[in-house]
């Protein structure tokens, strides 16, 4: 892949990510899943905080 092709690939990724971000920021995670089909990571439960 040439440098120009890499650049163009990243440009497309950046704009797509920005659009996805805009949708999530506007409607939140639950609606973004349903309305835009955005896939979210399943998160683990927070660990219990260790005492200092």
């Amino acid at each position: 892949m040439t440098e120009k092709e890499k650049y163009e690939k990243w440009r497309q990724i950046a704009f797509s990510m920005a659009e996805e971000k805009k949708n999530i920021q506007e409607v939140g995670v639950e609606r973004a899943k349903n309305e835009f089909g955005i896939k979210f990571e399943k998160l683990r439960l927070p660990r219990i905080r260790e005492k200092k």
């Binding site: 890499k6 990243w10 950046a14 971000k21 939140g28 639950e30 979210f40 683990r44 439960l45």
Partner: protein, 160 residues
């Protein structure tokens, strides 16, 4: 595991998982925050480590005010670092373009990275059309580090 950050030094709010896909925490100003990760694989269909690429984001959900005090910042950093410690993940983010303040947010995240990174992580930044800021955080020990780094263009004069 990748993360070598000393998370015990961070002063963070307790947070909880909601609906499997969100973490929530309440800061000292009474603002409830939502933190999430989306799957980045679809952006990198031709990359063999695509399933390790995630996209990070957060938003206030009880207010429109993005007020950051130190503890709010350290809670977000803790969640991000804890996530990175779980596997060989590469975490990307794009700065929110709301209010046209993406440049301000980019500078804030840069300050956070410099302050909290102990040298074990790298961050790759790209800016497109002076408006869209995208960054990637990866451990220098990540097995995909070299291949990921090589996916970036060498930005010369022709791209400016």
């Amino acid at each position: 595991m990748n993360s070598e950050l000393n998370l015990k030094n961070l002063d963070y709010h307790e947070f909880e998982r909601k609906n499997d896909n969100e973490y929530h925490f309440l800061n000292d100003f009474g603002v409830l925050y939502q933190v999430y990760f989306t799957l980045g694989a679809d952006y990198f269909s031709d990359v063999y480590f695509r399933n390790y690429i995630k996209v990070f984001g957060f938003r206030p959900i009880s207010s429109t005010d993005f007020t950051f005090d130190k503890k709010t910042a350290e809670t977000i950093i803790y969640i991000l670092a804890d996530y990175l410690s779980q596997d060989d993940y590469i975490v990307m983010y794009v700065c929110d373009e709301k209010d046209k303040k993406q440049g301000v947010r980019n500078r804030l995240f840069n300050r956070w990275f410099k302050k909290y990174n102990n040298g074990s992580f790298d961050k790759f930044d790209l800016v497109f059309e002076e408006n869209t800021f995208v960054s990637s955080i990866i451990s220098k020990k990540n097995p995909f580090y070299i291949d990921f780094k090589q996916s970036f263009p060498n930005l010369g004069e022709e791209y400016k």
